[in-house]
């Protein structure tokens, strides 16, 4: 019995090898890799391909943990603490990767420069800690563009009223000032709101961070001391405060995370929504959304410094430093992010991180007006993308900053006071961590 399965596996593998030409037959016979992968519907389709890699290389993959992103992060930290690092391959995320600098190995020695050149350069850059390439990006690239309800902009009455009040045409916004004007203009609480934003945890700090950049400032100085307690920082925070205090966002927005935001926009009660590419299909699907057919997407607006927001991140796979068979692990990781894998994964909507696959999805979307609009907007969005600050203390810093941002938004403190307090706390934290 065993022999026959083996035999059929090799026959299957031969034609596959002829196509990919990457590895020799049964290269990793008898190797078993333990993997910890991110679970969840949009990530799972790819894992069906693990079987192909197994039959191609003769290795075996054991998925020893499958959890959502935040639970996985907790698990990695516990593993580091307990030294239970017997596994080889782990899901990773560019915003979280720098927290565990010692956990993952540099992948550069296992890859050819030609192979690496096939990925989008900025994604590869965001996958590095220093010079160390700690992960290979999968087709799960995230940068936000601005979704809006089309019908609001086609209404002649609204156009006239808006022009009279604000002195310029009502078109999908290109600056954050315009977003603010239009959001206030459209709002009719409690039934309809101009916009909304993620209001807690890392999410609001990420939104604040990109706004600081768009206002011409930065979150940290080069030595990782806080730099957001500045004119630009106050302008950035004031944008959120202003939206909230004028009732242009739901009152609960400081308790919202991505799910509430996506559901809220899909419920048709929000005019403008800065959101991730993963929602594009959801918003335009009558099964899940009230505004299907009425959704437009444009590139994300710019701040007063003429810079567009563009906080971004991507998922990927990493190989642990303690892995006994790094060649095999690296082979699996590159297989899961190769052209075929990314083509499969991006077919359902997520953005790829390989040049050829980008071309492929754009060509594929031809004839589908909505999909083309989405891809164009996000392609433009990707050009302005920048990753989260690469310090091991990013997440810790967000936990110090976000309660203060919330305090300003809710009116407990002024923006200047809130940033003052947050900057002091971050400064103390960085000192304590020995950054300077």
């Amino acid at each position: 019995m065993k022999r026959t399965t083996l035999w059929s596996a090799t026959t299957l593998a031969i034609p596959l090898l002829a196509v990919s030409g990457l590895s020799t037959a049964a290269e990793f016979d008898g190797v078993t890799l333990d993997a910890k992968l991110i679970g969840g519907q949009q990530y799972e389709a790819l894992y069906a391909r693990i079987g192909d890699w197994e039959s191609e290389t003769g290795a075996k993959v054991n998925v020893i943990s499958k959890k959502n992103h935040f639970e996985l992060d907790k698990e990695f930290k516990s593993d580091l603490a307990a030294g239970s690092l017997g596994w080889c391959v782990g899901s990773n995320h560019s915003s979280f990767a720098s927290q565990y600098p010692s956990l993952y190995a540099d992948l550069t020695p296992y890859l050819t420069p030609e192979f690496m050149a096939e990925y989008v350069d900025s994604n590869i850059a965001a996958s590095k800690i220093g010079d160390k390439l700690v992960m290979l990006p999968r087709a799960q690239f995230d940068v936000s563009a601005l979704y809006y309800q089309k019908s609001l902009y086609e209404d002649a009455e609204k156009q006239a009223a808006f022009k009279k009040e604000y002195g310029y045409e009502l078109t999908p916004p290109d600056t954050w000032q315009q977003v603010s004007d239009q959001a206030v203009f459209f709002s009719d609480p409690p039934n309809f709101y101009g916009t909304q934003f993620a209001g807690k945890d890392e999410a609001i700090v990420g939104r604040f961070y990109e706004m600081v950049v768009a206002e011409g400032g930065q979150l940290f100085n080069d030595d990782w001391s806080p730099a957001f307690n500045s004119e630009a920082g106050i302008r950035a925070l004031d944008w959120f405060v202003n939206i909230y205090q004028q009732g242009a966002a739901p009152k609960g927005t400081t308790s919202y995370l991505w799910d509430e935001l996506g559901q809220g926009f899909a419920s048709g009660t929000i005019a403008l929504n800065l959101d991730w590419p993963g929602w594009a299909g959801f918003f335009n699907d009558p099964e899940s959304s009230k505004i299907a057919g009425n959704v437009g997407v444009v590139v994300q607006p710019q701040g007063s410094a003429g810079i567009r927001t563009g906080w971004s991140g991507h998922h990927g796979f990493s190989v642990t430093e303690s892995c006994e068979n790094k060649e095999a692990a690296a082979s699996l990781v590159s297989f899961l992010t190769n052209e075929e894998s990314q083509t499969l994964e991006s077919a359902t909507g997520p953005l790829p991180t390989r040049k050829a696959v980008w071309e492929h999805v754009v060509a594929e979307a031809e004839g589908d007006a909505y999909r083309t609009e989405v891809l164009q907007a996000f392609q433009a969005a990707a050009e302005h993308a920048f990753p989260a600050p690469k310090t091991p203390y990013w997440i810790e810093a967000t936990n110090v900053i976000y309660p203060e941002l919330q305090a300003a938004i809710l009116g407990d403190r002024t923006s200047a006071e809130a940033l003052e307090v947050a900057a002091e706390a971050v400064d103390e934290m960085m000192r304590e961590n020995g950054e300077y």
Binding site: G39, K67, H69, W258, G278, K290
Partner: protein, 288 residues
């Protein structure tokens, strides 16, 4: 109006007030739960609709079908989670009860120094918040190599349930007069036989109530399970609920469907044993 009539009116009024209050109270208890059951049959657009849809337009088994479906179509290894939960909860309950019987008997029947200190010491172990205990426990378990096993979680749950079981069962043994057991021993029974024939039957109800509390605690526990389990081979249903959340989304309808599967067995069990539960607690309370 004569006094009788007034009296009767007052009686009816009181009765109506009682029924209305009871109805309102039961509604508040049931509604949030029934809302979950209802949501498990509705598409997400309807649950999150604004303006709200009060009378469901579409009811379907879609969430259940998806949950039992394949990987990538929203499938979740429900059967595995259910079995893990069942094995872990039942085994840990049985062990906790056995240890509880031994411990309860010791507290009820023997005098020794530091008895009440030991007793309170036991109880205090239960007061340690799971979130404070989970990491050190994880490190210890990882060193021993029992992470991601049924055994590890069973061990943790036994420890969690032992103090309360001892406490309840102790109360029951105390209400059996010492003379009764002694009489049995004089009649030629061994202490062991006396225990089985005289004391155990009386304590049965108390054991049942301790068991249901222990079972429900293990069945619903999350903080420790999320730390001590990793893969489908040991994840329990409360941890499985989180499979419906990902970085950006929560599949609320799907989560409700799994929740219903969690609630039903617990509900059936409770319905069956609740008679024992009440009489069990009755005696456990006054004697202790």
């Amino acid at each position: 109006m004569d006094i009788n009539q007034q009296h009767r009116l007052k009686k009816y009024g009181l009765k109506a007030a009682h029924l209305i209050t009871l109805f309102v109270a039961m509604s508040i208890i049931c509604l949030p739960g029934l809302w979950i059951v209802l949501n498990s049959f509705r598409p997400t657009v309807e649950i999150m609709a604004k303006p709200p849809i009060w009378i469901p337009e579409k009811l379907s088994f879609d969430h259940y079908r998806a949950m039992f479906g394949g990987v990538g179509e929203g499938g979740v290894p429900v059967v595995r989670y259910f079995m893990n939960s069942l094995i872990i909860s039942v085994t840990s309950t049985i062990i906790a009860i056995l240890i509880g019987i031994a411990g309860g008997y010791a507290f009820a029947r023997y005098r020794f120094r530091g008895k009440s200190a030991i007793f309170v010491g036991f109880m205090v172990t239960r007061a340690v918040p799971g979130v404070a205990l989970s990491l050190p426990l994880f490190i210890v378990f990882a060193k021993v190599g029992i992470i991601d096993t049924h055994f590890g979680l069973i061990l943790a749950y036994v420890a969690m349930n032992v103090p309360f079981s001892i406490w309840l069962i102790d109360g029951f043994f105390r209400q059996v007069p010492r003379e009764l057991a002694e009489a049995a021993e004089i009649d030629g029974c061994t202490r062991w036989q006396a225990f089985w024939k005289v004391e155990f039957p009386v304590a049965k109800a108390g054991i049942a109530s301790a068991a249901i509390f222990a079972f429900l605690t293990s069945w619903n526990e999350y903080a420790l399970a999320s730390q001590l389990t990793r893969s489908v081979f040991s994840k329990t249903m409360p941890v499985g609920l989180l499979d419906f959340t990902s970085e950006f989304t929560i599949n609320w309808g799907g989560m409700c469907a799994l929740a219903v599967l969690m609630i039903i067995p617990a509900l059936i069990l409770t319905f069956i044993v609740q008679k024992h539960l009440i009489s069990g607690l009755t005696f456990g309370g006054i004697k202790g």
